[in-house]
Subunit: 331 residues, 2 copies
């Protein structure tokens, strides 16, 4: 029997679990809100399943629970936030607020984040910015999982990209959120656990040769979407998130699949644009609706990001998850 | 026997051909420079082969030779340029200059272009900005060639994306330049002319069904790279270039494969970032070199954009091309 909890109760329980592991109150609160939101929009991989992992990182030093993000902004449209090797969410919240304010005053804002960590469901921050009338793009690098074009060793993360576009009320924003690998590592893990072969084009072995063996794939690398073109896009994301911010590249960050490892020092970037600074809010809203109307003329087309429409007030926890969270909170 | 011409002589000849078709002197000069550059970096599809097509558009009214780009900038970091349905290059040149200046003062600049046209080899402007020490991204939409995810009719352009990243001298910038279709329409055209079947995954027929018949593919649509993920990325580019600028979507713009058609009113966007506004120029350069060093440890890896290293002073024209250009210039 799943346990039904209010959102507030779930956030408080997760925050307590993170505080017990060493997170400061603000880090615990913001991380809990992000993970509950991730669970509620159906992205379990960026939801409550992360609580135990984050708690382990706080305990073993891969994340600094006492970190407080520091912002420097030598120019009005750009800013760099040092997340101080804490969990990412305090820095991400600061980036979101700074991005919105600077986009409104300057027309566009680019916020980079360094010394950061796993950054969760990236559709959430761009959807929040879009609900404020702002166009937002979000980028992060991640521990190495894909080779560059022509290479064998994984150097680049799967480097997810998200974009949020406002629509007129009552429509939720249009939200795109995708990783630049053909499929997620978690998908291949599922095939390995079931002993199934994976389709061609998903992964390569440790020598860079295509494989359909899920277990071998897990020791190799993921294939970027569209092959060399996807590898080039992932390279662009890596450079935006890391070269501009001074963070660590995917190949310098230990993975999250085991508790042990280094402080990953990942990088993130947020681009926020105010439609009022270009053709104007009214022209923008008329144009996006014209495209969406054309899209919906074909049966079978869904406007991406509908999951960001619902804002449920309650969350269903499995017995196992409720037990894990209470256990962590009691420590 | 190809004819060897200096770059200056080739530009003058192309400018004369465009002037004869009705382009104003500045439009003729900037368009000629862009097409000769496109040819010289090996992108013949954005090189001299376009001269006759552009001349036809100038003559039949699809492009206004008298257009002068108009800039409005209600905020310091963003600007909107109305290309006035001329050939795109005067507006693109203005966007490049404005993007560089505003990125230097504001840290980041976003320049949108509306009522624009075919925008040529997009690696060129980002390479020029990167040679000035600026990180630059370029986007354009294009006449519809790909369906959205789940759709059948082509709504989105192939929507190329380019990115330029500075490196320390003497290295040329790292430049990525790719369309979001699996392959270019021109590639499929080649298969059709040779009567060859195309591989699966390149194209669909007019009903959205996969096809390996190149001729049927040309009446259908291109497949986005990576399928639905690539379609989502092309949708993001379409919204950045069109919804923000008030331009026309891919499905509203007639194609360039026949002379007849409407003024395409395409949209472009330029994002320019000054590394000095984030972790700083020195940290940026150290980080990009660290990644490139790691990339080159695998045999077979090439740093993208090497074609932008060479700046030849002469250009070889086929007899047929030289004849066409002189013919157009004499009109």
């Amino acid at each position: 029997m799943p346990e039904i909890m209010t959102r507030a109760a779930a956030e408080a329980l997760v925050a307590k679990a993170l505080t017990a592991a060493g997170a400061g109150p603000e880090m615990a609160r913001l991380t809990a809100a992000a993970l509950v939101d991730g669970e509620l929009v159906g992205q379990a991989g960026h939801g409550l399943s992360r609580v135990a992992q984050y708690a382990a990182f706080l305990r073993n030093g891969r994340a600094d629970g006492a970190a407080v993000p520091q912002l420097t902004a030598p120019r009005p449209g750009a800013a760099l936030i040092d997340a101080g090797n804490g969990l990412a969410y305090p820095a991400l919240a600061l980036a979101e607020a700074e991005g919105a304010a600077r986009a409104r005053s300057q027309g566009v804002a680019f916020i980079g984040i360094t010394n950061s960590h796993h950054s969760g469901a990236m559709g959430l921050p761009v959807a929040r910015l879009a609900r404020q009338g702002l166009v937002a793009l979000a980028f992060t690098n991640s521990p190495a999982a894909m080779p560059v074009a022509g290479g064998r060793r994984p150097l680049l993360g799967t480097n997810p990209v998200a974009a949020g576009f406002p629509r007129a009320a009552p429509h939720p924003p249009l939200v795109v959120d995708l990783a630049l690998s053909t499929v997620a590592r978690g998908t291949i893990n599922g095939y390995a656990q079931r002993g199934q072969a994976i389709p061609e084009g998903w992964a390569v072995d440790a020598e860079g040769r295509p494989t359909t063996d899920a277990k071998i794939a897990l020791t190799g690398a993921l294939v970027p979407l569209g092959g060399t073109k996807g590898a080039a896009l992932a390279l662009v994301v890596e450079l935006l998130c890391v070269a501009l911010t001074g963070a660590a590249f995917g190949f310098e960050a230990d993975g999250f699949f085991t508790d042990a490892g280094n402080q990953p020092r990942l990088g993130q970037a947020r681009l926020v644009i105010d439609p009022g600074a270009l053709a104007g809010q009214a022209a923008y809203l008329a144009r996006i609706e014209a495209l969406i109307t054309a899209m919906l003329e074909d049966d079978g087309v869904r406007i991406p990001g509908q999951r960001h429409a619902a804002q449920p007030d309650t969350i269903a926890l499995s017995d196992a998850m409720a037990h894990t969270l209470r256990d962590l909170a009691r420590t």
